[in-house]
Symmetry: C2
Subunit: 330 residues, 2 copies
Amino acid sequence: MVTIKDIAKIAGVSPSTVSRSLNDYPNISKKTKEKIKKIAEDLGFEFNEAARNLNRKKTNTIGVIIPQFFDDMRGEIFFANLLGKLIREAQMEGYHVRIEYEIEKKYIRKMIQSRSVDGLLLMNPFISKEDVEFILEKNFPYIFLHYIPENFMNTSKINYVRTNQKKGGYLATKYLIEKGHRKILTLSGLSINYEFKERTEGYRKALKEAGIGEEYILDIDVTFESAKKAIKKNYKLLKELDAIFAQTDLMALGAIEALEEMSLNIPEDVSVIGFDNIQIGTYFKPRLTTIEQPLDKLAKIGIKNIIKLMKDDVKVRKFIEPKLVIRQSA
Amino acid sequence: MVTIKDIAKIAGVSPSTVSRSLNDYPNISKKTKEKIKKIAEDLGFEFNEAARNLNRKKTNTIGVIIPQFFDDMRGEIFFANLLGKLIREAQMEGYHVRIEYEIEKKYIRKMIQSRSVDGLLLMNPFISKEDVEFILEKNFPYIFLHYIPENFMNTSKINYVRTNQKKGGYLATKYLIEKGHRKILTLSGLSINYEFKERTEGYRKALKEAGIGEEYILDIDVTFESAKKAIKKNYKLLKELDAIFAQTDLMALGAIEALEEMSLNIPEDVSVIGFDNIQIGTYFKPRLTTIEQPLDKLAKIGIKNIIKLMKDDVKVRKFIEPKLVIRQSA
DNA sequence: CTGAAAGCGCTTACAG
DNA sequence: CTGAAAGCGCTTACAG
């Protein structure tokens, strides 16, 4: 492997000069700088990353902690290549990304103490209190991405970048109301995660604004199958309804399948709106109307801000606005 | 940050002894070893990664090069969380993974020369000849994962882990034949990538084995839309056919939508089989019969073998066997 | 069983 | 504009 020492020897200068030249320091004569760059180029020299990191006390890499359920069904489909987007954004800013599951209790601690990363994007809702407190106490640069652990929801001093879930629920419900629907069922997963509570809050807010008194909330598993089952089971209730707000697209698809098997037409008999905007919705018939959580923005804003935070110790509290995507199902 | 020097001072020993203790060298008295471990634990000590990497001349990380089209539609859907699987497998083996797009011409070279990674999993079919030759010449540990660049297809000295595409095409076609079909159309993407050529070879092999003379091959874009269009356009041809082997699931779904719009029933009038086994196929009606490319195996075998190769300089040439998944569409 | 010393490949304050 | 020297935090051959 070629080092700056090798180059120094060939060029007849000191290693310091080589370092300065290759790093484009100002106080180096054009002549030697060019000579040295030429030699480095010819030899295919690249700085040894470990040596640099050790000396500079930074790694130019952003740690990303992903949740265990990331490769479950829901994760797989919803997070469609979020990792790819994070990698791309980081690379565009000149950083690397170190994506990991938190495989042991003190894993995050370890990443920090070993100085493996310069900052942390935390995407795990189940991150332990101890871990978070450690990060806070060390004043280590971090941002909660997409999720906030529930016990920190109400703390004001937390950094985050996440979708405005309540707004999403509100948009979905308001759209249905504007279409003339009054009896609107929402399929939620209240017991699973607070984001469903927030979506439901949005649902309520829209109903209230429209002066609609009746709520229909079903708290179920957030899967295709359980949505399908729930719709079939509540056959009677359904007769009175005119629209469904499913709080994930997969639930929406399950609901639609149930409705079709009951010979109901969508959206003529019942309108259905989903949440997430997974790509599948594009291929299903009827094409799914839904609320988009813009993952590319999540990635871009997350990366940009953790980098800013690594430099300046600013506060980062950003909401990403969800978007109504109108297609055929509602 | 706490270092072994700090621990040494507290324990009243030399840094060497601390290093040896924490690394569990045999020739250290139980007593001091335990004492030192206790102190390290109390202080929350972790080895500085950069220092270790510099000294040991390795990083414990595997580089993964992903293709630019990774976040295109096809990539997004087909590669469903392949990255997550790679990360998980690597972590289970005690390694990190550095996933990157090849953003500039000599990026791979740079990763090698800067000693950022110990080995490379190459997943880009468009990797340049120069890059590959550089890797080969440096004798740097690498494996082609899933793809092999076309100009190296016929070289015998290449390391790879990939799905047996020909076998996949064969299995799909053979299944259709066994179901009694004779006039089988295949929707391929011959001009896009050699993997489609291989699937088509498999198709041909199965036909030949069954003594079927007629081939129906459509070379189109491998998208939902173009498959749909192709089917509609070839309406006449279709009247004679009894089955379709679409070489991606998305094409299968496009074909199905076209057939349904033409009031044909699946599988009664026309059987359709796909390729990939993307998750969407599970939710569509009719549920998609398809050929699975087992991505979890790809990840696991890829990671396991690059690690082996980093240690031993063995040859790695592994095919992953695709699997027939029978559901409803054929 | 333990320590002193050299070295991994850089960067940079200091001196000239 | 350039060099010698110290230091980043480890590991390990050598000596005892």
